[in-house]
Symmetry: C2
Subunit: 208 residues, 2 copies
């Protein structure tokens, strides 16, 4: 199978980090990494649109030609194929709690960062009807959500509790991506987020 990837974008990083945490070997699993050059507009090509009609990257092209898009759907595929080192929970309650936290981070933190970037950065001008005021409002929401996550991490080692999970991967990729809108972790302002960020960034998977 082929994993269409990009080293700069946050969503492909989520999937690479997930694969690394599960200790899946690209060669043994038969996964070929294919770089897609976003800056060159390759995600807008007809070939790419056939694989990913909603335009999202990464894409996992299976050996039968079917394509899976949406980072979490690709992660779910690998979680099912390789149940060892579970990152999406092991029973009904932990699966639900991890899904809840992963979605809270996606919908509140990640989305506000992405919307602030998308509606404010010239790079998106040709593909988005940009609303400058919404970019600014989303930036304020990003700050609120960074603060909220800091407060949560005061009482929780990882995002979804005592165990590292896919919710930490989503949160790390979101927090690191926030530099595109000028947000970086401030150790004085966000001590718990900074503690967690240091801890999670030290994992081998954070470097892939």
């Amino acid at each position: 199978m082929k994993l269409y990837d990009n080293k700069m974008a946050p969503n492909p990083r989520r999937v690479r980090m997930f694969i690394a945490e599960k200790n899946i070997s690209y060669s043994q699993a038969g996964i070929e990494l294919v770089n897609v050059d976003i800056a060159k507009g390759e995600t807008f090509s007809e070939t790419f649109k056939k694989m990913s009609p909603y335009g999202g990257l990464p894409v996992l092209e299976l050996d039968d030609g079917d394509c899976i898009t949406e980072s979490m759907a690709i992660c779910r595929y690998f979680e099912e194929l390789y149940p060892e080192h579970p990152l999406m929970g092991v029973d009904a309650k932990s699966k639900a709690m991890i899904e809840m936290w992963n979605r809270r981070i996606e919908i509140n933190l990640y989305q506000s960062i992405a919307m602030s970037f998308r509606h404010g950065n010239p790079m998106w001008k040709s593909v988005t009807t940009q609303v400058a005021e919404f970019s600014q409002v989303s930036g304020v929401n990003a700050d609120k959500n960074i603060h909220k996550l800091d407060k949560h991490l005061k009482h929780s080692e990882y995002v979804a509790g005592h165990e590292f999970s896919v919710a930490d991967i989503t949160a790390l990729c979101a927090i690191d991506f926030a530099k595109v809108i000028g947000r970086r972790i401030n150790e004085e302002k966000h001590p718990h987020l900074a503690r967690w960020h240091k801890q999670v960034s030290a994992r081998d998977s954070a470097k892939v």
Copy 2:
């Protein structure tokens, strides 16, 4: 356990419909439905915020007091507890494909309807920094996504393929919710969506 619910909102409907499709009996499963009056501001009470710190409804309060929010996390909990009548797939590929379609509908169709409503309706004024232009842009995106779903349903019986799944529940709740921004299915303009809508609306679960 208690399921905090509201009969007017689209997200609680997703969970009720999911429970109905799985043939779960409220009394046998020990689920008590508790109405939350959104119009009276009950989702902003301190008691509610403790259960749902990100403000989302529905909430599933477990017997141990822990709370699950996010519709799909609650659905996942029931899918794991009651594996019969699977709505989230049965193997790695079908689980991934259903998750992909569910997310495509959520992120593209559902979000644009919700954003158009939230940024345009006076009801949200006190809790959202509304951006009128973004409401309008989101309405255009909703139209594009309704059209896109119509085209997809030309070649697919259900949203995620040959089987009814949670992606159909999400899509039905989104499409019916679109009336709040003045969008209704137009049989001439969207014949495939209209065919699917009629078929899915006829299910008993669509009435709960």
